[in-house]
Assembly symmetry: C2
Homo-oligomer: 333 residues x 2
């Protein structure tokens, strides 16, 4: 568990997209996002107060979170100066970078000297079990996509937020680095050893109250040949009661795979449901979440209405128009 | 690559089944199996010459392969004596045990002093790429099962052996520890990091001659909730041209999962084929391999005839009755 609240480090982000981890934290856990720290030339701005380390410390921030992607896979000397100073100022550090904090001898030495923690959420620190497939109490929803990066995390976060607003019992279960940094906890599934993937998801979503929902962040897609195995481990380890199909309508081919077309929502529905029913025969597809960021408002609403009619399921862009229709469907299960 | 031929270490195997790795080597690469080394109380016997270390060395053995499961997950003091002596005698050691050779300081020290190698095939030593899904030249067959441990490795080995006997170009591609020890090479897929599973199989089965067959060992089952993600990574990373369905007809529930029934061969055919066609639209199911070890000969032949008629596919027990019908079907593709 990472100590909250955070000071969000945006570094020298070359554009706003590079700071999407920080943006996610601010969007979904604003109470964790006290301030932003920007370096010379930073092109991202979360519209949070800009604070230096001492100011953020005084304001109560406990952990400096690296909310930006680094360039070239190295932690630059300029970043290092800030990270070292942050440790000295009394901050823990948290990062989802491939380039691990713990593999930087200077950061390790300073953290030790200052009694601070280095959190690398990129890799697991838990010894997960092998999945046993036993039925667990409580309810689970999983977001499954036509492709990678179509809004599965935002969908799960929006459903969780809406459920909690309605007074329902809900927990967002992070399965990727950004989700883990947002909530401070989760399983970095893409870094788990193959044999333990499904078991790690069973571990993440244990027995719970009968009316409690685990809202599980999805990963990859059954139709994305690079990562499909990860997706299936989520479906079988999560033993979901409900699936939400996620889609991005302007995508021309599978992400990173120019030769691969996106599957239809019908194909994803049929394939995911059949596989999910191996672990939970009662599983149902309850709705559709569309990332309409590439469409104008009228176009987006028109698309949703058409998809909803075609699939005979509620459809929404949960980030743009709210997750209400999805939560209605889940509550009715 | 592990140096061949081998001296097969059977240790104090409590029963023949405990030595199934050694048995696999003897069955499929008899030219690699010079002799067996048995300790006091060993209940396994491969009907190979019993040799001590000096005799095996003189006979040309290069590597002592641990061909037996250890008890309690530790390498016993009695084993250690033999392993240390083997290093001193000039053998490399190879093992598929969870308990790694490289984590035993005494073995590491002696190996270094003697200039010998410790091969732990349990874990990968290669940095695999992320799968790119690009079409590769050459042909590939993958064994997929209704369950774990239904004979996928033996099926692949038998198909490979039959192809080579017919003068066809074929390579068995090991994806598990036993297969790797049998051939000296492969990917220990269950120990690969999630993101790189499919990429490791692309790496294992690269571009090849148009008339060359990679015969890929299967793992797990799409219907086994503990390991299904590994199976799907094989299907998408292997981009097979042909699938062979593997089945064990006396199994009462999924291996290790008492609450899970086995899927029908029809369900496996439909699900595996649909997923395989994402990566290779021309993929076909070409035949069925049944592990009939639990059936008498007449019963086995009757079962195969019935399954073959029902599924309209050639069916054989490739270990008991030969892989001919499967290779006929593959050659006709």
């Amino acid at each position: 568990m990472i100590e909250t609240p955070y000071l969000l480090f945006l570094g020298d982000a070359p554009d706003p997209l590079a700071a999407k981890v920080a943006q996610g934290i601010k969007d979904w856990r604003p109470e964790n996002a006290i301030a932003q720290f920007r370096m010379e030339g930073c092109k991202a701005d979360l519209k949070l107060p800009d604070m230096d380390l001492a100011e953020a410390k005084a304001a109560g921030a406990k952990t400096l979170v690296i909310g930006v992607a680094n360039r070239g896979g190295v932690i630059s000397a300029a970043w290092k100066k800030v990270l070292v100073a942050a440790l000295e100022e009394g901050f823990d550090l948290a990062s989802g970078l491939h380039n691990l904090l713990r593999e930087e001898p200077d950061l390790v030495a300073v953290a030790e000297a200052c009694g601070r923690k280095l959190h690398d959420v990129r890799i697991p620190t838990v010894k997960y079990p092998i999945a046993n497939g036993e039925k667990r109490t409580g309810k689970r929803m999983l977001a499954v996509g036509t492709d990678c990066s179509v809004g599965k995390m935002y969908t799960a976060l929006a459903v969780d937020a809406e459920m909690r607003e309605r007074g329902m019992k809900s927990t967002f279960r992070a399965t990727g680095q950004t989700g883990i940094l947002i909530t401070g906890d989760g399983v970095p599934l893409d870094a788990v050893i193959a044999d333990f993937m499904a078991g790690s998801i069973e571990w993440l979503t244990p027995d719970n109250d009968p009316d409690h929902w685990d809202i599980i962040e999805g990963q990859g897609s059954l139709f994305h040949v690079s990562y499909s195995g990860v997706t299936l481990a989520l479906i079988h380890g999560g033993q979901p009661d409900a699936l939400v199909l996620c889609h991005e309508p302007t995508r021309e081919h599978m992400r990173g795979l120019p030769g691969y077309k996106l599957p239809s929502l019908e194909a994803v529905r049929d394939m995911a449901l059949q596989l999910a029913q191996v672990a939970n025969p009662d599983c149902k597809v309850v709705g559709i979440a569309v990332n309409t960021a590439g469409l104008g408002e009228d176009e987006a609403r028109g698309y949703l209405a058409k998809v909803s009619a075609r699939m005979d399921l509620p459809a929404t862009d949960p980030y743009r128009f709210g997750a209400g229709p999805l939560v209605d469907a889940l509550a009715a299960l």
